[in-house]
Structures are given as C-alpha cells and as structure tokens.
Amino acid sequence: MFVLIPLFPLLGAAVNGLIGIRGFSRRAVGATAVGAAGMSFAAAVAAFVGLLRSAEPAIVKTLFTWLPPSLVRTASGSLASLRVDLSFHYDSLAAVMTLVVTGVGLLIHIYSLGYMAHDKSYARYFSYLNLFTFAMLILVLGANLGVMFIGWEGVGLCSYLLIGFWFRKDSASNAGKKAFITNRVGDFGFLLGTGLLVYALGTIDIAGIAAAVEGGALAKGTATAAALLLFLGATGKSAQIPLYTWLPDAMEGPTPVSALIHAATMVTAGVYMVARLHVLFSFSGTALTVVALTGAITAVYAATMAFVQTDIKRVLAYSTISQIGFMFIGLGVGAYAAGIFHLMTHAFFKSLLFLAAGSVIHALSGEQDMRRMGGLRARIPRTYRVFLIGALAISGFPGLSGFFSKDEILASAFASGQYLVWALGLAGAAMTAFYMFRLIFMTFFGEERFTEKAGEPVHESPPVMLVPLQVLAVLAVIGGYIGLPRLLGGRAWFTRFLERTTGAHEAGLAPGTEALLMAASVAAALGAIYAAYVIYVKKRGEPARRFAERCRALYQTVLRKYYVDEFYGKVFVGGVFAAGRIADWIDRRVIDGLVDGTAGVARRVSRLAILFDERAVDGAVNGVGKAHLAASSVLRRLQTGHIYNYALAVMLGVALVITIAVAVF
C-alpha cells in the first residue's frame, strides 16, 4: 500500500516530462503535477492511518531483487551473501517523513502554480518537482542503504536540475553544479561507510544492520568509522560543517524549490538518515558526540552569517543550515524523536518563510535585497502576517511549533550532560530570533526603500500562492501540539509514536529543571527579538552600521562567509585543477613525449626532416619509432655501395660465425 506513495509523483514526472513538455496546456501540466502530489499525499495519509491501526511496528515490502547475491568475505572471515533488494520499509519514522514530504510538497506544488505561472518551462519545472518528490520518497522508504542511495542521489540530481533551472544564468548553473559536486564529496563518505558495513557485516539492509549491531557483531571502532563516514554523507546533504557552502548558493533556484528542497525536505535527509541508523550511531557513542558537536557548532556558526546577509533568501538559507544543526543536536544527544520533531516543525515554518519570502519577491517583481525593501507591512499585509507567524515559530516564541521542538532538543542536550552543546544551542536559538526579526524589521517596517517599476506595482500574491501560505501558517502554529511535552500537560504523543521506531529516550530531568530551561530559552528568544527591535526599528539600524564600521575586519570576515568559499575554491577546486593541469602536462609532454621520442637525438637526424613532412610522419609518430629511424639512417650509411666494403663485411661475418661457434664449443 505505502509503495503507492512514490508511484504517483513518478507517474506525474513521467507524464509531464515525456508528453506534457510537448503537448500539454499549462492547466493540464499543473493539474497533472498537483494531482500526482495530492494523490501521493492521500496515499501517505492512508498509509499512516493503516500504520496507526496496525500492531506491527514496521511493514517491509520487497518489489524485486535489485542486485542478486554475491559472496563477500567479511571482516570476521565468514562468507556472507550480499543481496540488495528493491525493498521499502514503512514505520513511524518513515510515516512522519512521508507525511511531511508529501504534505509540504503538495502545498508547494500548489504555490508553484502561481509562482511559476509566467515561466516558459512550466512543464519541465513540474516534471522536476514531481521527480524530486519521488526521489525523496524513495530515500525515505528505502529499506536498505542501496535503495536509500537511489533516493539520496536522485534528490541530488533534482536539486541540481532545479537550482540550475534558469540555466541561462551562469550563477544558477554554477550553483547547481556546486551543489551536486559538494554532495558527491558527501557521497564519497556514504559509499565508503556502506562499503565498511558490507565488509564488517555483509549486509546493507537497515534492519539487518540494526540486528547485527544489537547482536554484537560489530566492533566499536568499526561502528564509529562507519557511522562517521555515513555522517560525512549527511553533512553534504544536510549542509553542515564542513560541506555547507553549497546551500546559500542554491538560492539561485526558484523560491518554491528553495522552500521544498532546500528547507523542508532534501536537506533534512541527512538528519533522517542518522535517525534511521540510530542503532549504529548509538552503539558507537563517539559518532553520536561528533554529530551533536557538529550540529551545535553549525547552528551557531551559520547563525552568525545570517546576521549580516542582506539577501532575503540567503538569510533563510543560513537559517536553514543553523536549524538543521539543531536537529543534529537532538540526534546527537540521543533524542532522535526530538530531532525529527524539529525536522517536522521546521519543515512547516521554514517552507512558510521561504514561500512568504517568495511572495515578497513576487510582490517586488524579483527584488531580493532587503536593503531595498522596508515598510511592506502595509502593502502586502497577508504576506506580512504569515511571515510573522513563521518568524515567531522559528524564534521559539512560546506556544508556536518551533518552541516545543527546539525546547525539547535543548532540554535533551542539557539532560545528556553535554552542557557545551546545550549552551551553543541556546546561543543559537537567541541568534535565530535576532536575525529573523532583523529580517522582519528590515523588510516590513521602516520606510519604503524600493522603487516601484512602472506597470509593475507592488502587489499581493494571488490566492493560489496565499492559500498554501496560510495552511502552512496554521501548521506552524499548531504543529507543535502533537508533541506537547508532559510538563505542559501534553502527552508527548509524537515522541511516543516515533519511539516505536527509535526506541525510548528518557530526558530524565526534574520538572523544575525542565521549566527553568524552558524559561531560559523563552527569555533568550524574547530578548533577542527585543534587541532586534531596538536596533532595526527604533534606531533604524544605526547601531549595526556603527558596529560594522568599528569592527570592519570582523564584519567583512563574516560578510564574506569567513572566506570559506574562497578557501575551498583555492585549496580543493584549485588543487584539483592544478593537479589536472599537471596531469595534462604529463600526458602531453612526458608520456606522449617519451613515446614520440622528442629526444633531441632523433631530431638531429636531419635527413628525416627532409624525408618526412611533419604533418604525416607515420614513422616519426612513435617514440620508439624515431629512435628506429635514427638507427635506420645509420644502417643506411653503412650500406656504401662499394664492393670492397661489402667484401670486408663478408670476411667479418666469417670471423663472427667462427668465433661464436668456437666460443660455445
């Protein structure tokens, strides 16, 4: 049943991609794509309901054998038969993910109908979007690392195509390429991690890995190595340190794409993967710590960069990186459910923010620079309202979804005793609130800094765009209540539902401590919002400017993204190209040179130059060849034409023959 979920988007992509692109009207294209997304969502809901009713914790459905069995000699010396089936796995974790993917996906499909209405490549766009949904669902449902990897790379491909959707722009196609290649670096880790598991366990089946780990078949060191390699893949896909640089650039894509792929779904694939392999990560311990620390550092680090960005979408991009850091904190302290909970709420409010930002951009006919916005509150009030909801949610304003999920993560971090992680998380939360409201204030408050182009007045978006926004706003508000913690009288339903898959995790905090922590984060968030208000509304951004001037070096460093892009460009890309040039030089000069016999000896044989024109020298082509030709001309000189020379040669021959014969005798 649940296998149908990815089927619809696939069909939608195929229909639009093969037929729609040629013959369909825009309406038909839209209907196909949205219909596919809708049916997929319906199927996801149905499957979810089915899972709730079922007593089974997980359903596995195998379609067919993908890679037939091969013998593998594992680390322990035993022979395993590695078989990879095209099989799917549906449990509470997958259920949450499919609902998020198809639900948010459906809304974004609808939104796109309006946003992309004037684009020439309408069918191509929707075909890619459907294809993405399909790939993401494969990633989520895959029952083994192989199938997961199909989705993993599939979403990467779609991301590549959608970032570079407006391929005439060089920046767009560059960004797409950068995203793909950075992800490939992550895949390098993913593949090696998979290889290590094959070697260690002889299986890449997720259930099989879990069973083997629990059965004690894996050494701790091996587990750590495998987990870290896989996590390298996760950092690529989820834009964490050190592979985060592609995500801000990815904003070159259409805004709905940013919302769906680069906020709500694809970038959380790494989070999902770690959660999916929680047994492995938990067993290692060390790996889990690395995950938590990476998440915490990324959360703060990315937030600092969001402080100084002026491109509305780039702020959101850094925010996404930061928020995914939070998710990894949750996973890293063992609170898998909390991490996934945040994943879900983040999907609501971040896609809301992106789509709302898209609405702003739409209103201003493509303007993305916040320095040329301001005062939009009055001009596009509906967009403003939903944007504000999203900003409050992400800031952890009490009662909104972000508050619950973030709080649960921070509480778990504190409970795990990793206070550094907790402290970083708290700081990150405060920073989040600050830059989000910096964004709100710069965009919607103050004076209007934009110039209206003639014939394109600032306009509110059409309903087809606003309705999804409003739905998402509602979700961003109420989405947290399914995981309402016990402290606040909830039953933590979401956590318990997920713990059917991830196993129980007790925060083990005293209610008092928990309340205190909650208060701390609320205070941090509210304080940060207030600070933003003072700086950007009351003082019209003056303090920020003054700060930038006074600490110019620091400001520049942050603005230039800590020069990491430059560093990567110089060291890695530059290194590869330098190596490429060297290799190319070797190829042309050394190897072919040796072969071509550029050796001066051969060149000096002047007769050859006369004999062979340089263009078509069959003999001289080849290195050995040139040497031969030189030898040849020597031999020719020996052939003098004189009888007495020849006669001497004959006598020499006689002597030679006799000498050789006598020598052996």
Partner: protein, 100 residues
C-alpha cells in the same frame, strides 16, 4: 714429401692474396684476377689434401672447381665489359649508384 701443412699454408696464402686483391685493388680486371687466385688457393689445398689422404676425390673436386672457375671468369668478364661499355671505366669506385 712436402708436409701437408706447407701445402695448406701455401693455399691459404694464395687465398689471402686473392682476398686482399679483391678488397684493395680498384681496377675491376685486377679484381677479377684476384678472384681466380682465391679459387686456386682452394684448389691447391684440395689437391694437397687428396694426396695426403690418398684419395682421388681431392683432385676430382679440384677439377670441378677449375671448370667452374673458367665459367665464372667468362661470366665475370662479360659483366665487366658490359659495364665498361656504359661507363668507359674499370674503376670500382664508380660502382656506387646503388647504395643506402
């Protein structure tokens, strides 16, 4: 009786003189004569050996060689003459159209 060694040395001497003549002299006719000397050197050895071994075969062999030498000389002269008609020269150094 003359020792066989002396006969052989004589033959070899003749042979060597003939060879040196072929190599050193530049006149084709002289070279032709040197060739005859070569063959006669061999003949001396053959006849000497035949006597020493008390076998008629040596002499018979030598007679065959003489016959062959005659025809060779005839052919050789014919070729040299044909060449002379074209080049008006007996100089062996002129024979270098074919080389390389």
């Amino acid at each position: 009786m003359i020792p066989i060694e002396a006969v052989i040395v004589l033959g070899l001497l003749l042979f060597a003189i003939g060879f040196v003549g072929v190599v050193v002299r530049k006149n084709l006719v002289v070279m032709l004569m040197s060739l005859e000397l070569l063959l006669n050197g061999a003949n001396v050895i053959l006849v000497g050996l035949g006597r020493r071994l008390d076998s008629p075969r040596g002499t018979i062999f030598a007679m065959f060689v003489i016959i062959m030498a005659v025809s060779e000389a005839a052919v050789g002269f014919a070729l040299v003459l044909a060449y002379f008609r074209q080049k008006k020269s007996y100089d062996v150094d002129a024979l270098d159209d074919l080389k390389g």
